[in-house]
């Protein structure tokens, strides 16, 4: 077990809570039962800070910071539910929907989707931006799983879980900006991957219908990101090491 970290005072939307030095603003909020919406963050994986859904205002100067990648400090005044932050979160979601081809009605994850749920949470009833309608091919070459880049939001949970928990590192992101895309095995079809162990952790953590089991029909795909938290917690605690110290 880790030593207990020194406690400091922080406030969320004007209410005081106990923060622990070394933890992130997001961890601190969740430990105290304060809700901060997030998408790319997944407990048990390294912090990515890419989706910007969890941005908060830190009082001095009202700078926006991702709660997942900002450490708690003494007397930090954190704002979560301000009109500006609500507007930014909604804009981020609209940009995510405009960037890919997200068609909820025909998606395997319809009704079980973190992106769809977040759109409801943030009050997105339409998308103001122009849809980019990119042409992207589905990779159904793997015997067990399907990768549909049309539904990918580049949260990199699959990249991280494959590298950090499974240790296989099948997934990567290539190119930048609007061209950025997920690839498997140095851009070979997933089904030809020699490093993929078929473990399915990438599928378990995907927040949308981008990674799914072969043969899933509309609304049938349910992900299981909590399993990864269990693995990470057990590993950090050394639960599966020989108690006598002989590995």
């Amino acid at each position: 077990m880790r030593e207990r970290q020194p406690a400091v005072n922080v406030s969320f939307d004007g209410v005081e809570y106990e923060g622990l030095l070394g933890e992130s603003v997001l961890e601190c909020a969740r430990r105290n039962g304060v809700a901060i919406p997030s998408l790319c963050f997944l407990e048990g994986l390294t912090v990515w800070g890419g989706c910007r859904i969890c941005v908060v205002e830190v009082a001095e100067g009202h700078r926006l910071r991702p709660a997942c990648a900002t450490q708690v400090a003494a007397d930090m005044e954190i704002k979560i539910e301000t009109p500006r932050l609500r507007a930014y979160r909604k804009s981020v979601l609209e940009l995510l929907f405009a960037e890919g081809n997200h068609v909820c009605a025909v998606c395997v994850s319809n009704g079980n989707c973190e992106l769809q749920d977040m759109a409801v949470h943030c009050g997105m009833d339409h998308v103001r931006y122009d849809y980019q309608s990119p042409a992207r091919e589905v990779d159904a070459s793997h015997p067990k799983y399907v990768f549909d880049p049309n539904r990918c939001i580049l949260c990199t949970r699959c990249v991280r879980v494959c590298d950090e928990i499974e240790g296989a590192h099948v997934w990567d992101i290539r190119h930048r900006g609007q061209q950025a895309e997920l690839i498997t095995e140095m851009n070979k079809p997933w089904g030809e991957s020699l490093s993929c162990t078929w473990c399915g952790k990438c599928v378990a953590v995907c927040p949308t219908g981008s990674l799914a089991y072969q043969g899933s029909a509309i609304g049938e795909m349910e992900h299981d990101p909590v399993m990864i938290k269990r693995l990470a917690v057990a590993r950090n605690r050394g639960e599966w090491l020989d108690p006598k110290g002989v590995s």
Partner: protein, 180 residues
């Protein structure tokens, strides 16, 4: 009391939203007590009338007929509502957009497909030309409120109509705005 003048219209969609509208069942009788349905694909009315209080528009804007009707609706309705995911986002109707030029898509369907006679349907004044891109309704005309869903469940449509009849916009928070 003066009857509210409500219209519904059908652009590039599958009519599933209108099926869901009919799924309001006996509440339709209550609606008929307080509102006149002055234009709808389920009523035999040829011209979109003037002086409409609110129009629910199903479907995306996919062809020139859709474009013309959408503009006519806006000019003659006090409130326009995007009714269902196709009107809201393009949805399934807009799935042709990543494939590019509509002419190439028509060729793939009508010319290259083996069980067809090799001709793209082309009857002037009857088959409307496709627009280069399918667009959500709010990209063509101003839209006052959105009723997402594929289709929107009947109780969601009812809640929207009840709000309109009370003179307010439909709920735009929580499950009322869930897509899919």
């Amino acid at each position: 009391m003066k009857q509210a003048r409500i219209a519904t219209a059908w652009l590039g969609g599958c009519s599933g939203c209108h099926m869901s509208f009919l799924d309001m069942d006996e509440w339709l009788f209550e609606l008929a007590d307080v509102a006149d349905i002055v234009y709808s694909p389920i009523a035999d009315i040829k011209e979109f009338p003037s002086d409409v209080d609110a129009t629910l528009v199903e479907g995306a804007v996919a062809n020139e007929d859709n474009l013309e009707l959408a503009r006519d609706i806006r000019a003659k309705s006090r409130l326009v509502l995007s009714f269902g995911d196709c009107a809201v986002s393009g949805n399934v109707t807009a799935m042709r957009n990543p494939l590019g030029d509509p002419l190439q898509i028509l060729e793939a369907v009508y010319v290259d497909a083996p069980d067809r006679d090799g001709l793209i349907p082309n009857a002037a004044g009857i088959v409307p030309p496709l627009l280069p891109k399918v667009l959500p309704l709010h990209k063509i005309i101003r839209v006052d409120a959105f009723i997402p869903g594929c289709p929107p469940p009947a109780d969601r449509i009812q809640a929207a109509l009840e709000a309109l009849l009370e003179g307010v916009l439909p709920p735009n928070r929580g499950e009322a705005i869930r897509w899919g």
